[in-house]
């Protein structure tokens, strides 16, 4: 029996208030019947595609955290660097007309460039900024990562200027496809399919290959893994590389949806992706995927579903508030996330 304290009381009040807001808002919105069914479907599809991008980025956070117990604060910038360098290739293809003559090949090349750059930057980061700090107290690598994140942002700003760069649009990706009676924007369909494929690939890599097994062993217990003859450094480097290549791919997908790149674009998706990783239970790969999808869905449906019913003006401005509130709620009430049982056991 635990003693009942003021803090618990406060937390219960907090839960009840949030629950009431949510329920009240939902009732209000549903009673208003302002949105027909296909608008809701649009919201859901948009949320899923947005969420799958979050999920791809979240994989990098989760893998690094799983192995090093470190939040790689600069991961959002790794994502940005992929999107940004992909832009130069895409723009060159766009100018020469190759993009429309041969869209599949050129998009694949852009994707490859984005993934390779992100991976290279993450590896450099690991080597220069993080590896020397492997044995230091936990705050130290976190601060180094914050520093690295600034450094990358403003390096890109210095290199390429501070403006928004317009990503060229492939003719092929304009318009909508109708699938099973539901119209889906082509970009969103591509994003969904591509990210699901990539996540499946990653999952197979981690679960089926020898390297993946080694990584999982290192994340369980670094010392024991080393004793069993696993090259810990290599496992760490691979975790960084694989996470970063996913972030690069996410950068590419993000750019074809939002059609512009900017040196600061990594920040918000980075934080959101971290939220997604925490949501799913950090260190847990399927959790990160689920958390990303969940967060995207919540963000796109939430403002209308929960807030508009309360009579709040311009609820869509508050979508980040919903995301962050969810983050805080998860951290407070279920720090292990949706899928994370492992971490709890580990802490005990």
């Amino acid at each position: 029996m635990r003693r009942f304290s003021v803090v618990d009381l406060y937390l219960w009040a907090f839960r009840i208030v949030v629950l009431m807001v949510v329920v009240w808002g939902m009732i209000g919105t549903i009673m208003a019947r302002r949105y027909p069914g296909d608008v809701w479907i649009d919201f859901v599809v948009f949320g899923m595609s947005q969420g799958s991008i979050y999920a791809l980025i979240a994989l990098g956070y989760t893998m690094v955290y799983g192995i090093l117990r470190m939040i790689n604060f600069a991961h959002g910038e790794v994502f940005m660097s992929g999107a940004y360098t992909g832009y130069f290739v895409a723009a060159a293809f766009g100018r020469s007309g190759y993009l429309d003559r041969n869209p599949v090949v050129s998009l694949l090349v852009v994707l490859a460039v984005a993934m390779i750059t992100s991976t290279a930057i993450a590896l450099l980061l690991e080597r220069v900024a993080y590896r020397p700090l492997r044995r230091s107290p936990r705050l130290v690598p976190l601060i180094a990562a914050i520093g690295a994140s600034f450094f990358l942002q403003y390096t890109f700003r210095g290199f390429f200027g501070s403006g928004f760069q317009a990503y060229p649009e492939a003719q092929m990706l304009k318009g909508t496809w109708v699938i099973a009676g539901i119209g889906i924007l082509r970009t969103q369909a591509v994003v969904l399919v591509a990210s699901v494929l990539m996540m499946l690939g990653l999952y197979a890599f981690v679960m089926r290959t020898k390297t993946g097994t080694a990584m999982r062993a290192v994340s369980e217990d670094r010392e024991a893994a080393a004793l069993m003859g696993i090259d810990v450094d290599r496992a760490i480097v691979i975790a960084f590389a694989v996470g970063a290549s996913m972030a690069g791919a996410a950068g590419f997908l993000y750019a074809i949806v939002f059609k512009q790149v900017h040196f600061f674009m990594g920040f918000v998706p980075g934080i959101k992706a971290f939220t997604a990783a925490v949501l799913g239970g950090i260190g847990n790969i399927p959790g990160a995927m689920l958390g990303g999808l969940f967060l995207g869905l919540f963000e796109s449906v939430g403002p209308i579903l929960f807030l508009e019913g309360l009579g709040i003006v311009a609820p869509y401005q508050l979508k980040d508030v919903i995301a962050f509130t969810m983050l805080v709620m998860v951290l407070i009430f279920r720090p292990s996330g949706i899928m994370g049982e492992r971490l709890v056991a580990k802490k005990a």
Binding site: S5, V7, Y10, L11, F14, M70, I71, F88, V128, A129, P132, L133, R135, S136, P137, R138, L139, V140, P141, L142, I143, A144, I146, G147, A148, S149, F150, F151, L152, Q153, Y154, T155, R157, G158, F159, F160, G161, I271, F274, T275, V278, I312, V313, A314, P315, Q317, L318, D320, V321, F324, T325, L327, V328, L331, I332, P335, K347
Partner: protein, 567 residues
Amino acid sequence: MRRQPWIAAAQKGLIWGGVAVFLALVGMVETFAGRQIVVGVISLGLALPVLTAVVAGYQGAQGHPGGAPGAFLARGALGGAAVGTVVSGLVVLGTFVNMRSMFVSASPTMFETLSFGRGVSGIPLVLLGAAAVGAVGAAASLLSPGVRRPLVTALAWTLGIGLFQELLQILLHAEGTRTAVRELLFVEDGLSMRGATIVFALAWGATAGWARRGGAVRQWHGRLSAPRQRVLRLSSLGAAVALLLLVPLGGGLFLSQVLVLVGLFALLGLGLNIVVGFAGLLDLGYVAFFAIGAYTVGLLTSVGEHGIIGLSFWAAVPVAVAVSLVAGVLLGVPVLGIRGDYLAIATLGFGEIIRILVLSDFLRPWLGGSQGVLGIPKPMIGGFEFRGPEQLFYLTLASCALVIFIAMRLRDSRLGRAWMAVREDEDVAEAMGINLVNVKLMAFAMGAAFGGLSGAIFAVMLGSIFPHSFQLLISINVLALIIVGGMGSMPGVIVGSLFLVGMPELLREFAEYRFLIYGASLVLMMQLRPEGLWPAAALRRELHAAEEMGPSGRAEAAAGSGRPLEE
């Protein structure tokens, strides 16, 4: 075996050449090309690549101790030449390929600076110069410390005075002797050759003199009786304070403005220092309290459309502090159970929530949305109005003094000891009978209150407040200045804010690259000096004790000092 050091020297040179190319492409060479250090001799833009060659030479020469001086110099020259080769490669590339469609800074000015204004035909000169400079760098490692130290100090002083020339010229902009000094040292926008020589000689003389006589002075100080030492210390402190009080009178508007900003950040830093440095709770949402303080004062005092009751500043400040304090408790309670990195993320979430809410149309009728709150009157005492930075400087200084006093008393109190205990090990602290809930909440509340005070001054300084002033960047900057200064150390906070807030303000050209330098220095700092520039006494003791124990003990102590964030 014999070739190894040569290869290493060349490798060092290539790495530093990469750094030089980075500096050029990121735009620093071009931007700083106009900033003269010594007029007609060297600009800051050129000094940066030259410095990389010096470092390459110095580092390249190492690695084979006890070699002949000639080999030393040759290795340095090799390192420097490698830098020169990489830079020349960039010049060639930039001359024949238009890089500007990608790299915005790859401008003709930059290539001109890098090749001494000669383009591709300047390359032999670049190579030669770089090799020579590298050799100079190598020579520095040959000098005896007795010669090297004054030399480096003198060079640093010359460089520093060259960099801060704008500020110094403003300070010396007056009749009489000050103008004479100015004319002696400066021409237009930089040190003159004569001025540079004078500064160099003076700094050399002073350093060499101190090296010879310093021991005697220290002995004399040591022989003084304890009360006398105290008197000496107090009177020098008093002199420093008196000097500080005079700054707005002699320094003018610009310097006061910079110092007010430094003061505000120091105030924020002192507050966050309680939460992070004393209690070990990593808070990335600290800007929320800054915003709450600013908005409270804004809403209570504004004569504009969002003003509520039009209180005076002095009545509004206590309210702002109280509101922030309550907000600190309210935000603190739910996150109490969260530890380490998770706490950082949760608080970051809170900070963003506050900012987005303030910015939103939803709260616009009350908080003004993105248009902010306007028409905040300046504070008055009797007939004295805190009109501009020169007057607000005193307000900031007084608040800083007050907060330092409170923080010092808190640190030495029972509560302060409890904070440190929690920082060192939460579980042990709890086992020793410390009420974690109360102690952590007090830290959050005190930190929030100081943040609110800082926000209040910020609001009257600007006369209006906008949500865009309360980005996450502020939280991170404040955290960075604490860490650069030294966690848990109050002089460290001041040093950190001078270094990270004051310097970029004074070096206006740096402003654009501020965050780049920030980021790089944070990464470097974590590797070279994770304890900060002016670490707290306890931490310093710990580290020193560890040094005596040897490398393994050091690692242990380092791990111990970081315990707060371990789960």
